[in-house]
């Protein structure tokens, strides 16, 4: 930005104007997302997640994990330490893989933002595809860590 200012003051100001306009346009969608996030995180705290991911049946675990991962939103610096703790508690790699991948790729909570940019239909297709990818990743992880015997 400093370089940009030196090269052309006028253009930089124009750029900042665009930044500002874009930001204001998407702000309502962000607010909705924050509202949803704050409520969902209250309803689904870490304790609940640890409890559900540790179920005996691994396939049920994967499904639950991808469900929880889809409906919640967590920054990496919270999600990975949590996954690390769960791993030590004996939760399977494939379940954790399903959880972290859906957490990052599938966003039910980011829906308002995604819809604003790409429309509802594309948003739904993309999230469904991402969920499928996450499930495939989970299964492959399971195979490599010998958690599924072929």
């Amino acid at each position: 930005m400093v370089i940009s200012l030196i090269v052309s003051r006028e253009k930089t100001i124009k750029a900042l104007r665009i930044s500002y306009k874009r930001f204001i346009n998407i702000l309502p969608a962000f607010l909705i997302m924050l509202v949803l996030v704050s409520i969902v995180l209250f309803l689904v705290p870490d304790v609940v997640i640890s409890e559900y991911l540790g179920v005996e049946n691994k396939f049920a675990g994967i499904l639950l994990a991808s469900f929880l991962g889809s409906i919640t939103l967590m920054p990496g610096f919270i999600a990975y330490p949590l996954a690390g703790i769960l791993l030590k508690k004996g939760v399977a790699y494939m379940v954790l893989s399903a959880f972290t991948t859906t957490l990052m790729m599938v966003g039910v909570l980011t829906y308002p933002i995604e819809k604003q940019y790409f429309g509802a239909r594309v948003t739904i297709i993309r999230n469904a595809l991402s969920l499928l990818i996450a499930l495939i990743i989970a299964v492959v992880t399971g195979i490599f860590f010998m958690e599924i015997s072929l």
Binding site: A15, S19, Y20, V35, V37, S38, F77, Y93, T101, R126
Partner: protein
């Protein structure tokens, strides 16, 4: 769009009232929800202004032809590689990737590359992957990336082609 914004205002204001009432009557769950709201907003405030400033600068300085050459219809395989490379340096998460993707699209990037970028920014951001590997092991991260990247590219190409056939256009709602 009108109806949509009314719903939005209704949601946000009823949420605000709920939080305010919770504080007045010190209702536990309400307070906790507002803490969540505050901490998440702070996290996003650290990233978003920078992201949008960069988007603004990008819109002004980067020529349309440059984007078209590297991310556009004729970019071929390199377009997808650029998309992944760009995604790996993205900070934040999907909510940062969407506006960036929109900017790229409006400068002439093709849909397949756009969706690759979004998918990749969810799964192969460099700082995130290092963090992941330190908690879950390098093997775990390696498997995840090796499986995810091809799948993301293939599904993005399919989705892009499908949408192009249907003459899909991204439009920003004002």
């Amino acid at each position: 769009m009108k109806r949509n914004s009314i719903i939005r205002i209704a949601i946000i204001s009823s949420y605000a009232i709920f939080i305010a009432l919770s504080w007045i009557f010190s209702f536990g769950p309400g307070k906790e929800i507002s803490h969540n709201f505050a901490s998440f907003s702070l996290d996003m405030l650290k990233v978003l202004p920078c992201a949008f400033i960069l988007i603004g600068l990008f819109e002004i300085w980067v020529k349309k032809e440059t984007v078209e050459r590297h991310f556009g219809e004729k970019s071929g395989v390199r377009g997808y590689l650029w998309g992944i490379l760009l995604a790996s340096t993205t900070v934040g998460g999907l909510y940062v990737a969407f506006p960036v993707a929109y900017s790229l699209y409006s400068k002439g990037a093709k849909l397949g590359v756009i969706f690759t970028y979004i998918g990749a920014s969810a799964i192969c951001r460099v700082p995130m992957t290092i963090f992941e590997a330190s908690f879950l092991g390098v093997k775990f991260s390696a498997i995840r990336l090796l499986v995810a990247i091809p799948l993301v590219i293939v599904s993005s190409i399919l989705l892009g082609d499908y949408l192009t056939k249907r003459n899909y256009k991204i439009m920003e709602c004002k």
